[in-house]
């Protein structure tokens, strides 16, 4: 009996296995129902709802000032950007123009948030692929950003520093100095990151050519953020629809065409340099001005629909507010980047190994509360 005949006699069966909701490589309570044949994945079905808190419904109950703090709890790694998205939408509805000072401070903190988020992602990506050291190095540098936030905003993660019309209070006197110190420190650390992980042969073998997402798929599934830019889809909201102070800074939109896990890794690593460059352009000349435009104690948006989108660390966040003229919104909808990015996971993970799925998921940088809301 030849080998071929022997293989034909052995029957294999597909079976289900749960990955999550408490899987260490799933970054939170994401449950993936895998249909596998041996170790080959045939189907990936994400099962959501483990951390659903009905934030959109709670927004209908709250006033416009109170909505802001709920968005901290969506994508908690880019909480300041989420807050800004809501504030920009409300400001659009009220037709308030915030001062230049507010715009610049918001942009600087946005970029610091992006660096902190990418730092965490880099550490966790290394850890998912078996390199534990990267986790500690990334958290060491992220700690400095958290200190900046804690000193200025009062909180490390759920900052709630934005209010409709500006900022809750002015930046701390140490803010500029600390940010400059961090940038000088961090510039020496990114090459270290590259030496530690980017060039590593095991890391490269596990990421190159794995989880390829084509540009057509990225567009048709609504993928955004660094994930889409690694496939060559120019989707940076900061570039195409500038908000806050992004229209007055020079930065490159990082585009790769490979669309594999390594390209997604490289996009984020190069975005770190772009974020540093944006902060450097703004930090030395923060204009003087008021930090909060005058708003009424009870904000009532005019009747109508308002939409604003921003670029979070994970992609495009859209905030839709439908107002009937009351102090509460009639309907709030968040278009979160994580949800759309997750939808493409099944498409690109067919007939790959489980280990490759872990690498792909790590490069997508999911935050589960952002997907479930």
């Amino acid at each position: 009996m030849t080998d071929q005949q022997a293989q034909n006699k052995i029957k294999t069966e597909e079976y289900f296995i749960n990955m999550g909701p408490q899987h260490p490589a799933a970054h939170g309570v994401l449950r993936l129902i895998l249909t596998i044949d041996g170790e080959i994945i045939k189907n990936v079905e994400p099962d959501l709802g483990y951390i659903h808190r009905s934030i959109e419904k709670m927004c209908e109950r709250d006033s416009y000032q109170q909505i802001v703090h709920l968005t901290d709890r969506m994508d908690y790694l880019s909480s300041h950007i989420n807050n800004e998205a809501v504030c920009l939408t409300v400001e659009k509805g009220l037709e308030i123009e915030v001062s230049d000072r507010v715009k610049v401070i918001r942009t600087i903190i946005d970029e610091l948030t992006r660096i902190a988020s990418h730092c965490l992602w880099w550490g966790v990506m290394g850890m998912d692929l078996g390199a534990l050291t990267s986790y500690f190095y990334a958290f060491r540098d992220r700690e400095m950003i958290n200190d900046i936030f804690e000193e200025t905003c009062g909180a490390r993660l759920t900052m709630n520093y934005n209010v409709p019309g500006g900022l809750m209070f002015d930046i701390h006197p140490n803010f500029v100095k600390r940010t400059k110190d961090f940038i000088t420190h961090f510039k020496t650390k990114i090459p270290e990151y590259d030496r530690l992980l980017t060039g590593n042969v095991i890391f490269q073998k596990r990421t190159k050519g794995v989880g390829i997402l084509t540009k057509e798929d990225a567009i048709s599934f609504g993928v955004s953020g660094p994930t889409a830019r690694a496939s060559g889809f120019s989707s940076d909201v900061r570039k195409h629809h500038p908000y806050s102070a992004y229209d007055r800074v020079n930065f490159k939109e990082i585009l790769f065409t490979e669309g594999d896990t390594f390209a997604r890794y490289q996009v984020r690593m190069m975005e770190l340099w772009e974020s540093i460059s944006i902060i450097e352009q703004l930090i030395d000349n923060i204009p003087e001005g008021e930090t909060k435009a005058a708003t009424k104690a009870v904000i009532k948006l005019p009747k109508g629909e308002f939409y604003q989108r921003v670029e979070t660390a994970r992609g495009e966040l859209g905030v839709y507010i439908n107002s009937t003229g009351n102090k509460n919104p009639y309907r709030v909808k968040f278009r979160s980047p994580g949800f759309s990015n997750l939808s493409v996971l099944n498409h690109i993970s067919k007939d790959v190994l489980i280990g490759d799925l872990v690498a792909t998921m790590a490069s997508f940088d999911f935050v589960i509360p952002d997907i479930d809301r």
Binding site: Q66, G154, R195
Partner: protein, 158 residues
């Protein structure tokens, strides 16, 4: 031939990575950033703006600044603040005046958003940098912020 060069290149990248970790191994004491909590409690100082819990400062005569306007209660998104108020008769003018009986703060429900402190017109409540909030019973986290027998400082309402 490429087989051997792959092995050579692979080992080289591993050694490059190990040179980073090895550098930290040699300079371990210099770069250590770990805080030895709770042994460093005496020296550990939180930032001025740190949001730990809401407190109501009282002066030496047991007086506070809270007029009972309930702005904080309205601003709070999740009902962490409850104010039980009363009307007191002013002995001089005979007018009835609003005063707080109890300013109840549920620390267990608070999300530290800071909207109450922003809303307070008299700065009667402020943040305290206390973060050691673990208790054995949940009811210990429901606090009455105004001290017993305290009264509002004169002239705050005007």
């Amino acid at each position: 031939m490429s087989y051997f060069s792959d092995i050579y290149k692979g080992i080289k990248t591993l050694l490059t990575g190990m040179s980073v970790t090895g550098g930290y191994f040699i300079r371990a004491r210099k770069g250590a950033i770990t805080q030895q909590y709770p042994d460093n409690r005496e020296t550990l100082k939180m930032f001025d703006r740190f949001r730990g819990e809401v407190v109501m400062p009282h002066d030496a005569d047991n007086r506070h600044y809270c007029t009972g306007c309930q702005s904080c209660e309205i601003a709070c998104p999740n009902g962490s603040i409850e104010i039980i108020w009363d009307r007191a008769v002013d002995p001089e003018t005979g007018k009835k005046k609003k005063k707080i009986d109890k300013h109840i703060y549920h620390l267990s429900m608070c999300t530290m958003c800071g909207l109450c402190i922003e809303a307070c017109p008299t700065d009667a409540i402020v943040w305290a940098p206390n973060f050691e909030n673990s208790v054995y019973d949940r009811s210990a986290l429901t606090k009455v912020l105004n001290q017993p027998g305290s009264s509002v400082l004169d002239g705050i309402e005007d």
